[in-house]
Each structure stands twice: as structure tokens, then as C-alpha cells.
């Protein structure tokens, strides 16, 4: 579980966080780790036994792998997290050994490697690592039902009603061609919630938007449990899996960056 240190190289960049700190802690940029500036000469000295490189860890979902049964089977989690997600992490680390990219949080790494639409080879792996982290945390045992409080208010403001939002989300997911993701995002420019659909590994972070909920529409995410019945998978996600707790936490953080209007403070 988690990550393993490779000695003698330094382990830096984004650290794998323990399961209980999922949520707010995740988005804090990593501080307190010395950031030595890579000097050209140093890296090539054959005497030097250690090399500075970036390395990312596989985080664990904030629940046991059977916690989402019967809506998402343990077998799916074992494969999806244990093989696919792990593969992306391993592949990314392999790429980073030879790459000058260093010292980024995962979110920063995605934006840097997206390279304004001309993605670097590391983008796919980096984005998929982040996307899957986000996905596990977008779900919970006993999920679904209705959002509450501020999230519900904002949804009703931007979609007219929860059921309107739900329909939009389901339609968007069904209309996706090929592999991709469906997101509820907070648009930083328009300052409103929106449903967005992305292909392959792309995630709304690259446009500066703030994801609130993410749903993996790659076939590997649902094929074992639902075969080709995507509609059932999407509806099950909305009714039984989506974590409105996680959404609330993310909205709270997002409001620190996006002004959603004056809070309604009652006047005496």
C-alpha cells in the first residue's frame, strides 16, 4: 500500500497521504521539503551516488475495496485501482527518471505537462493518476441521494433544480464518444457550476476550472460490473455512489478561489 522509497534517490514532490487525510489536506502544496536547484554539473558527476528526481506515490481509496459493493464490485476496484491506477503511477515515475520535471504537486504537474494543448509525454500518466485519485474520493459507501446545504443551493442556482443537473450529467456521460470522464466543475471565469465532458486523460484542471465530482467513463471502469450498459452504471453512480460529502469539501475550498457572491448574513 502507499509508496515505497527508492534509496539512494530522494523522494520528493507529492507525498502519498494516509487515508484519513483525504479531502482538504490533499490540495495543500507540499512544503517543508528542501528544493535543491538542479545544477548541470552535479547531475552528471559519475561519483555522485544519488540523483534528485521527482517521484509520486499511489494513494489508496478512502475505503476498503469491497466498500462499494454491490454497485461497484471489489473485483473492479482490485483491477481498476490495483492494476490500472498503479500502472499509471509506475509509468509516470519511470518517465520522470529521465525528465527534468521536478518539484511539482500533482495538480501543477498536470498543468505543466498539458503544455497548453500540446501535451508532453508525461501528461497522460500524470493526469490519469490525478483523475483516479479524484474519482475514488468522489465516491463513498452509502453515497448518492441528494446533495445538501451550500452545494444543493449552488446546483439549484446554476441548473434550476437537482433533477435538471442530474439529467444533464447523465446525458453528457451517455453522449461521450470513446474513453473519457464526466465532471461537475466550478467554472472559475463564469463563477458557476457546469457539467463538462473530457476525452481520454484530460481533466478540467488544465483550463483552470475546479472539479467537484468526477466519473470515469473508460470502459475498464464499468465493464466487469455492467458490461455495455453504460446508462445503468451512470445512474447507479448518481443514485448510490457519488459522495456529496467530498463535493461539499471541494466546494468549500473552491470558494476560497472563486467569489460566488456575498454570503447571506442575516442583518439584526
Amino acid at each position: 500500500m502507499g509508496f515505497h522509497l527508492l534509496s539512494p534517490s530522494y523522494c520528493c514532490g507529492y507525498q502519498a497521504s494516509p487515508p484519513i487525510s483525504h479531502g482538504l489536506l490533499r490540495f495543500r502544496p507540499v512544503t517543508g521539503i528542501p528544493k535543491p536547484s538542479p545544477q548541470k554539473g552535479q547531475l552528471h558527476q559519475s561519483r555522485r551516488a544519488s540523483k534528485v528526481l521527482a517521484y509520486y506515490g499511489l494513494t489508496t481509496p478512502p475505503y476498503k475495496l469491497d466498500a462499494l459493493e454491490p454497485y461497484m464490485s471489489q473485483r473492479t476496484l482490485e483491477l481498476h485501482w490495483g492494476k490500472h491506477h498503479r500502472d499509471y503511477v509506475d509509468s509516470l515515475n519511470k518517465q520522470l527518471v529521465k525528465s527534468p520535471l521536478y518539484g511539482h504537486t500533482m495538480e501543477e504537474l498536470i498543468k505543466v505537462t498539458y503544455n497548453n494543448g500540446n501535451p508532453l509525454p508525461e501528461f497522460n500518466n500524470a493526469a490519469q493518476v490525478w483523475n483516479h485519485d479524484f474519482f475514488w474520493e468522489s465516491m463513498q459507501s452509502g453515497g448518492g441521494k441528494l446533495p445538501q446545504g451550500g452545494v444543493l443551493q449552488q446546483i439549484e442556482k446554476d441548473f434550476d433544480s437537482y433533477s435538471n443537473f442530474r439529467d444533464t450529467f447523465v446525458e453528457s456521460a451517455m453522449a461521450l464518444f470513446g474513453s473519457g470522464w464526466v465532471w461537475l466543475v466550478l467554472r472559475t471565469e463564469e463563477k458557476k457550476l457546469s457539467v463538462v465532458r473530457t476525452s481520454n486523460a484530460i481533466c478540467p484542471l488544465v483550463w483552470g476550472d475546479i472539479p467537484i465530482i468526477g466519473l470515469d467513463m473508460w470502459e475498464h471502469a464499468y465493464y466487469l460490473d455492467y458490461k455495455d450498459d453504460r446508462e445503468k452504471y451512470i445512474n447507479t453512480f448518481m443514485d448510490n455512489l457519488v459522495s456529496w460529502h467530498a463535493a461539499t469539501v471541494r466546494m468549500l475550498r473552491a470558494e476560497a478561489f472563486v467569489n460566488l457572491g456575498e454570503p447571506k448574513i442575516p442583518v439584526a
Partner: protein, 244 residues
């Protein structure tokens, strides 16, 4: 051969369902959907597989073949027909923005129909010649352009494994320069989107639905095994017709 499978018929049916071959079904249900296509819009129906669902085992499981054919391919056809109807309506009305808007649905679903129709043809059960290496002119062309059949297979498998997301890997013939090439296409883009001169000889579906139930995330194993049921006779036929 592939043309027969893809060719639509001037039919008044929507071509839904599989059962007996499309043409026979249309003949036995003449009243289905009559009047819907007064202008004679050509729609499509699911071609039969030239073998049983289980005939490609153990390379590809019967469960996958059945789902792949009856659900996935059928859905592409259904949605393709729907898009074509909408397109015809939009064209009649001169609704340009609708016409352009429909292009992605047509490319995706039409491409899905084209690609899968070829795919069923380029697979064959092992006991009916599947996996037998190509002889004759295609065999020589492979040796010339790739060095050996092994080298070609290695290249195609590498490209197929490296493909991010969903798509296809093709053995293509560039009919202008008469050279073989390995190409990949994303999602359901047909080979022709990579070049108007490209003729598909073999296509391998690397969408996850093509292998996931059996091979899970180990796409390389699927690619290794599918060569055991590859129908080189089909590829040779297409090749010889082009270079003749």
C-alpha cells in the same frame, strides 16, 4: 466480401435486430417502418458473423464475441441509422448548422459500423485457417516492407499497446505507393481518416470492450493471442485486388 456485409439496402425497415440476415428479415417483414423513408434512405443492419460466437476461443471468448456483436456493433448501427435520418431531414430543410452538428455522430457511429464489419471478416476460427500466415503476394510484401511477419506483428502489437484510450490498429495498404503501413486510429475513426489512399487489410479493435472480460487490463496478451485467429486469406484477397 466486406462490401456485402456493409452494403445497405433500399429498405423501409430501420434494420433493427439481428436474427436472420438483414435482407431476409426485410423481405419477411415488409410492413416494418414503411413510409418512414419515403425517399429511400439507405439504412443498415447488423451483418451476421461468418462463425459461431464461441468459434474463436480460446483467443477471444464467446461471451465477448456475443456482446461485441449483438450489443456494441448493433448500437453503432442503430445510432448511425438515427443520425442518417436526422441528416436527411436537416439536408432537406437546408438546416446547415444541424447538418454540421451531426457529423461527429455520423463519424463515430458510421465508423463503428465500418470498422466492426471489417473486423468480423478478418477473424477466423483456428480450425478453419485462422492464424495461418499469409502466402503469395501479401506475404512477400510483408517481408519487403517489414522484414518479416514477426516484425510486423511486433510493430502492430507495440502500437496497439501504446494506444491511449480507445481506438484501432491497422495493417494498411497505401494504394498509391503500393506499400504496407501500420496505422492507428482513435475511437471509431475509420482508417481513411488517416489518408484517403489507405485500404484496410487487417484491423484490431483495442477498445477495452474487445478484450476486458477475458484479458482484463492485460492488453498485450489479447494482442498476442488474436493473431491465432487472424484471417490472412481475407487480407490477401483485399491486397491482391488492389495491386492487380
Amino acid at each position: 466480401m466486406a462490401l456485402r456485409a456493409i452494403a445497405g439496402k433500399k429498405t423501409l425497415t430501420l434494420g433493427l435486430g439481428f436474427g436472420p440476415s438483414g435482407a431476409a428479415a426485410a423481405a419477411s417483414f415488409p410492413g416494418l417502418g414503411s413510409g418512414l423513408h419515403a425517399r429511400g434512405l439507405v439504412t443498415f443492419s447488423l451483418p451476421d458473423l461468418p462463425y459461431d460466437y464461441g468459434a474463436l476461443e480460446p483467443a477471444i471468448s464467446g461471451e465477448i464475441m456475443q456482446l461485441h456483436h449483438q450489443k456494441h456493433h448493433q448500437t453503432y448501427i442503430t445510432n448511425y441509422n438515427k443520425a442518417l435520418e436526422q441528416l436527411e431531414e436537416a439536408m432537406t430543410k437546408g438546416d446547415s448548422s444541424k447538418v454540421v452538428h451531426l457529423q461527429s455522430a455520423i463519424k463515430f457511429n458510421g465508423g463503428g459500423h465500418i470498422n466492426h464489419s471489417i473486423f468480423w471478416q478478418n477473424l477466423k476460427p483456428a480450425n478453419e485457417g485462422g492464424g495461418e500466415p499469409p502466402h503469395g503476394s501479401l506475404g512477400w510484401a510483408i517481408d519487403t516492407d517489414f522484414g518479416s511477419l514477426e516484425a510486423l506483428v511486433k510493430t502492430m502489437n507495440a502500437e496497439g499497446t501504446a494506444l491511449q484510450g480507445s481506438g484501432w490498429v491497422w495493417l494498411a495498404l497505401d494504394r498509391e505507393v503500393k506499400k504496407l503501413k501500420v496505422e492507428t486510429t482513435a475511437n471509431q475513426d475509420p482508417l481513411v481518416t488517416k489518408g484517403a489512399n489507405l485500404v484496410p487489410l487487417l484491423g484490431i479493435d483495442v477498445w477495452e470492450h474487445a478484450y476486458y472480460l477475458q484479458y482484463k487490463n492485460v492488453r498485450p496478451d489479447y494482442l498476442k493471442n488474436i493473431w491465432k485467429v487472424m484471417n490472412w486469406k481475407y487480407a490477401s484477397g483485399v491486397y491482391e485486388k488492389e495491386v492487380a
